[in-house]
Symmetry: C2
C-alpha cells in the first residue's frame, strides 16, 4: 500500500470566517492508496478533536505507529486502500503539523499562542478544499468523519455541496448543545487557570501540565459510561485493602483517572485544545440560513448517518434532524442507531457495528 | 416558634473510625420548637454536603436568613415545629461552626488545615448522638436527610438502631458509586491544584478562589440536568448577537457557569469540601458486615425512602436495595420513586412531591 505523510505550505492568504486573514498556512496530511486516472476514488477522512492526520499506520515498517482509526483504513478494510485514495489532514488550528497556535507567527518570530485567530469548522474545511485542489481532487468519492470529524463532513455538504458524492457522518450533530458549551468552557478554564499556562505563552517554558491533567480527568468523568466505570473499577481500593483514612486517591478508579491525567499533556497542545473546542462551540450548520433544509438545497450526495442510542452528547434525535432535512430534498440517506455502552466514543472504541455499515455503504457506492 | 442557634463544646475525647482521637470538639446546632415532657418528639435533620445547621429561618426577626430546607421545617410544615423539636447540627468536619479543618488545632494554635483527621459519616453520627444526649433526647422520633444527609440517616440506623423510631432517607444510597468516587476526586484536584491552596494552609492568606470556582463550574456540569440547561440557556449569545470570534465565554450558559463559579468561594471552606467528599467516598453502610440484611438486624424503625427516577448519582435501584433489606426483616418501609428533571437535587429544588410524602409519613407516625 502506498503511504505518504507530508506537510504542504500554502503561500496564499486565507480569509477566515471571522474576517481575519491568515497570510499563508501549512496543512499536514497523509494519503493511503493512489488516485485513479478518473480522479474519482478520493476519500477524505476528517479527524476528531484530539486526533491528527495519522488515521492508519502499522502497515509498513516506515510507519509502525498505529493510526487513530486503524480498523477502518487499510487493504481490505471498509475504507479499502486497494480501491480508494484516502486523505486525512490535520485540521487548521490543530497541533499535528498544520498551522495552529503552536506555529510560528512569522512577523513576531514567536509561536502564535493566543494571538492565533479564532478558526471555525468552515475555515478548516476551506483548507481541506485547497489541499484537494493541489492533490488533483475535484470531487471526493466520500467525505467521512465522526464527532468533530462529522462536523467537518456536514460542513463539506454545506460549503462544497458539488464536491462530494457520498458523505458519512457519525456521532455528530447539526449544531452544538448547551451541555457541550459548558463542558468545553470548563475544560478550557482548567487549562487557563493553571499559572503555567501563562496566557498561552508556555512554549519552550513549563507546560500547563496540571491544568491539562485536570481537564483530562474531568473529561473522563464526562465521556466514560458510568456502567463501564463501575464494571471495570467498582469500589476497589488500590491496595486491595480497606480505607487508609488519608486524603490520598486510594480507590482504583481514582488512581486510574490520575494516571490518564498525567498522560494528557504529552499528547496535545493546550492552546490547540482551546481553539478547537471553541470551533465546536461555534458549530451551527445552519448559521445565517433559515433552516437545515436550506443548507442542504444544493447537496447531491448519498449520506450514511450513524448514531448511538447511548450518545447523550449528540443524541440520535439530532442525527435524525439531518436525515429529515436530507429526505425533504429526496436525497438518499440512511440513519442507523446502534447500541453500545461506549456512547459517544463507540465509533472508535466499539467500532464493529459502524465499520460493517461503512463497508456496506462503500461497496454500494462503487 | 422557639428558635435557638448554639455551639456546644464537648470536652471529651472522640475516638474516630480511623483510630485517631479528637481531644474535644465543637458542634454547632440549631433547634426549632420544644422538646415535650415525654421527650419523644425530637426530629434530627441531617444536612447535605455544603449546607449547615441553619435548616430553616425567616420565621422571626432575629433570624431572617432563609434556611436550606425552608419549605420543610416550620409551623404547619411537614416537619411541624408546633409538634416537633427539630434539631439540625453542622457535621463534624464542616465549616458551619462545628469542629473541622478551619478550626484551631489548640496545641499548634493554628487552623488544622490538612492536619485535621479524616472523618467518616459514622464519626459524624457519633457526635450527633452525643449532642442528643446533652439535649435530653434518648430516642429520636425521626432522623431525616437527603443525599449526604441521607447517608447520615442510614448510618443512624446502623450505629444507633434503638435510638430512632422513624427514618426518612431521600436520594441516597447504601454505598457510594464508582462515578461519585471519580467526580469527588476531580473536584478535590481542582482545589488542590490551585497554587493558592498552599497545601490547605490558606487561612488568613489568599483563598484558592480559582480552584473552588473551577470545582463549582465542574459541579454544574455534573449536577444540572441537560434538558434544564438547554431549556434555560439554549445556544444564546450573551450579547444577543452572533459569534465574537474571540476566546471569551460568550454564550449565556458559559457566562452563567462563570458567575456561579465566582460565588463558590464565599460559601464554603475548601478544606471542608475535601474532608466531607472524602467521607462520601468512604460511605459503605455494610463495611465490615456481610450484607445490608445484617446491618439492619437491630433496626426497629419505620422508614420512608424517596428516590427520583432521574437521579443518576444514586439511582432508584440503590434505594430499592435498602427497601428490600428492610423488608427482609419485615420492617415497615415505603419506597417512592418520583419524577423530576432536577434529578439528584430534586428534594431541594423541586421538593413538592417529597414534602407531601414527608407530611403524610409524619402524620401517620403521630
Amino acid at each position: 500500500m502506498t503511504f505518504s505523510a507530508s506537510t504542504i505550505h500554502f503561500d496564499e492568504a486565507l480569509e477566515l470566517e471571522s474576517g481575519r486573514v491568515l497570510e499563508g498556512f501549512d496543512i499536514a496530511y497523509e494519503t493511503y492508496g493512489s488516485l485513479n486516472s478518473n480522479k474519482d476514488n478520493a476519500v477524505l477522512i476528517c479527524h476528531g478533536l484530539t486526533a491528527d492526520a495519522h488515521v492508519a499506520g502499522g502497515h509498513d515498517d516506515s510507519n509502525p505507529k498505529k493510526g487513530w482509526w486503524e480498523a477502518a483504513v487499510g487493504s481490505g478494510k471498509p475504507f479499502d486502500t486497494d480501491k480508494y485514495f484516502i486523505i486525512c489532514s490535520n485540521v487548521l488550528g490543530g497541533c499535528g503539523g498544520s498551522t495552529g497556535p503552536s506555529s510560528i507567527d512569522i512577523p513576531r518570530n514567536a509561536p502564535y499562542g493566543l494571538k492565533f485567530p479564532v478558526v471555525t469548522v468552515s475555515d478548516m474545511v476551506n483548507t481541506q478544499a485547497r489541499l484537494a485542489d493541489v492533490l488533483g481532487v475535484n470531487t471526493f468519492h466520500t467525505v467521512a468523519g465522526g464527532c468533530f470529524g462529522g462536523f467537518q463532513a456536514l460542513q463539506w455538504m454545506r460549503s462544497y455541496p458539488k464536491r462530494l458524492s457520498n458523505a458519512i457522518v457519525i456521532s455528530a450533530t447539526p449544531r452544538t448543545t448547551t451541555h457541550n458549551l459548558g463542558l468545553w468552557e470548563v475544560i478550557r478554564q482548567a487549562i487557563i487557570r493553571d499559572p503555567d499556562f501563562n496566557g498561552g505563552d508556555y512554549y519552550g517554558k513549563k507546560m500547563p501540565a496540571s491544568g491539562m491533567g485536570l481537564a483530562q480527568m474531568f473529561g473522563i468523568m464526562i465521556w466514560m459510561d458510568r456502567e463501564v466505570m463501575s464494571d471495570r473499577f467498582g469500589l476497589k481500593f488500590s491496595n486491595d485493602g480497606g480505607p487508609s483514612y488519608t486524603l490520598e486517591p486510594e480507590f482504583e478508579f481514582q488512581a486510574f483517572i490520575h494516571k490518564v491525567g498525567k498522560n494528557a499533556i504529552a499528547r496535545f497542545d493546550p492552546n490547540s485544545l482551546i481553539y478547537l473546542t471553541k470551533a465546536m462551540d461555534y458549530f451551527d450548520l445552519k448559521r445565517g440560513r433559515e433552516n437545515l433544509d436550506e443548507v442542504f438545497s444544493d447537496v447531491r450526495c448519498r449520506t450514511l448517518l450513524i448514531s448511538y442510542r447511548t450518545d447523550w452528547r449528540y443524541p440520535p434525535e439530532q442525527m435524525e434532524e439531518i436525515s429529515v432535512a436530507l429526505s425533504n430534498h429526496e436525497l438518499p440517506n440512511e440513519l442507523h442507531v446502534l447500541d453500545s455502552n461506549f456512547g459517544h466514543g463507540a465509533f472508535i472504541y466499539d467500532s464493529e457495528g459502524a465499520l460493517e455499515l461503512i463497508r456496506r455503504f462503500m461497496v454500494s457506492a462503487e
